[in-house]
Amino acid sequence: MLKEIKELVRDPRILVGVILVPLLIFPLMGGLSSIAMESAQKELASIRVALVDEDHSQYSSLVKDVLSRMPNVILVDVEGANWMDNALAQDARAIIRIPDGFGENLSKGLRGNVELYVVVKSLSMSESGVQGALSGALSYISRALSTVIIGAYAPGLNATNVLNPLIVESRTVFKGEVVDAPPERFVSSAIAQSFTMPIMMLIIMVLASQTAVTSIAIEKEEKTLETLLTLPVKRVTVLWGKLVGSTIVAALAVLAYVAGFSYYMAVFLPVQQVSPSGASLSVPVEGYLVLATSLFLSLISLLALSLLIGAYAQDVRSAQSLFGLIFIPILIPAFLLMYADVSALPLGLQILLYVIPFSHPMIAAKAVFVGDYLTPLLGILYNVAFTVLVLSIATKFFSSEKVVTARIALRRGAEAT
């Protein structure tokens, strides 16, 4: 087993792919995206807006006044029949055209027309930022106009109250308790958790399975398998050595991943942590125990299955393509559960999820969160049965000559005699 770990950790493929990449990818991703975000913000900090005022009323002047006082807007006046060309010549990102009759409509209590032209320069994220800023500016203008109109026609009314007549005090009811936190904040923290759990499990499973699926193929490729199988070591021990070795490498990978991810979160996304005050969102110890058991069982059966499938490959490359067979049943539950609860899915998908043994730790992660222990426990029972089945098949396979000759099924003529 020590040999397994030494070999795996010293393998540059494992070291780079499983440990270094997750450690570096997040800081790198964070660094790059923050550079990109900074330049996008720079762009947002000064948007050149061209105003074509063909109305020349007190209301269109108000629009101009509000716009010119906005900190992120550089206002450019454009006139004449060639207003579009002029605006573009002045490098405007947006053109607001107020046609004749705008002020007249407003003073009659009607709605006034305004034309907005946005110059799309690139198809990047910063473009939507520009549009967001523009629609923010327009709604601000809208409110300013409403305030002026209300002030003019109903001097006794408080314009702010008329525009916002409701004061909403929102609270959340969770597990029968009223929690003094708005539901959107409460739910967003819950969603963050239920979103990240399946992803984390997906990553752990994929990494562990990848290591396992190639481990027999590596022995075949390096021609060490035959020797290994004639040593005075029980075949079951060989199997477990590989299972434990893959799990340890997976655990290292998870640590590297978590380290990289939390660095990314802390340095590049200093988002305010939402912790719903008073709500018992924390999972009790037994919850974690149930979760750990569920994940452990799934991992063992997954690794045994990966070893079995991988044993059919002649070399590492074909083992990696066989990995696709295992990847799909891990990916399906991870993606379904990231976006929906099991109960919200159509019956067919629900059955599919419960049948795939690797869904259960992901389902458990959500269930434990809301205090449901029956579902995870049933899942554990199902996984115990599945694990026993896979392990007994794997043990049988490892004790037979198939572990040496499995490839013969694909290419019988290649057997050396």
């Binding site: 040999k3 004639t230 013969i408 050396a416 005699t417």
Partner: protein, 267 residues
């Protein structure tokens, strides 16, 4: 072909006693009417032979004759389709685990773990056999002597030449003092010096320490030098068997190469 009457197979619990005691009359290897299929293709077609204790037994024959399959069955990697194969009275199928404790197998294209050093490799292999620290040290020291790689033993095996890897593998096979060494083409592809070293070690362990060896080889000089007895396999059958001298006399040949050529033509 002479086939000995089957000796009584020792019980499992007697095994440890057996491995340290010489039981008179017990054959090292007994193969009787062995048949092996791969799918529908019959690769071994009823092979029978015996190997005495302390004997060096050579399997020779053209490529594809079934030599490697024969050795892999002896090494418990493959299972016979029918027939009996016993190693020191233990059945290679029913008693596979016990057989693995007294054999040491060197596959033709064996590799070593490339990310371990030569020394770590020997230490790992020795740890599977040693009962205590003292025995472990003894096995490793013996392995170091057999490999004869000097300071290079502390380098990763990925930096070794083919000859050095083969010497390390031979050290692994012999240092654990097996009762039977199964060597598939022990010197194939090696230069003269490495091949000489490997042959010298095999001979030393066979002659001085009573090791039983079953080997396959394409090098007829090597076979004449090492083997007490030779079996010629052709198309899954043993077509001739005897000491190198007997075979040369029987076929009126100058050397084993001629015997081989005549037999192969007949086949």
């Amino acid at each position: 072909m002479k086939v000995n009457a089957r000796p009584e197979r020792p019980k499992r619990k007697d095994f440890n006693r057996l491995s340290s005691r010489v039981i008179p009359g017990l054959m090292a290897v007994r193969v009787s009417n062995l048949v092996k299929y791969f799918g529908k293709k019959m690769v071994l077609k009823g092979i029978s032979f015996n190997v005495e204790r302390g004997e060096v037994f050579g399997l020779i024959g053209p490529n594809g004759a079934g030599k490697t399959t024969m050795l892999r069955i002896l090494a418990t990697l493959l299972v016979p389709s029918s027939g009996v194969v016993e190693v020191f009275g233990l059945d290679v199928v029913k008693d596979a685990e016990e057989v693995r404790r007294i054999i040491s197998y060197l596959p033709e294209e064996a590799g070593v773990y490339p990310r371990l050093t030569g020394l770590e490799y020997l230490e790992f292999m020795a740890s599977l056999y040693a009962k205590d620290e003292e025995e472990l040290r003894k096995i490793i020291d013996e392995g170091l002597r057999i490999a004869g790689l000097g300071d290079r033993i502390r380098d990763r095996t990925s930096t070794y030449s083919k000859g050095m890897r083969r010497r390390l593998l031979l050290a692994r096979v012999l240092m654990v003092r097996p009762k039977l060494a199964i060597l598939d083409e022990p010197t194939s592809g090696l230069d003269v010096l490495h091949a000489h070293h490997v042959r010298r070690m095999i001979r030393e362990y066979a002659k001085q320490r009573g090791l039983t060896v079953v080997l396959s080889s394409h090098n007829m000089l090597e076979v004449e030098f090492l083997c007490d007895k030779v079996a010629l396999i052709h198309d899954g059958r043993i077509v001739a068997e005897g000491s190198p001298r007997e075979l040369k006399e029987a076929y009126g040949a100058e050397n084993l190469e001629e015997v081989f050529a005549k037999v192969a033509r007949i086949g």
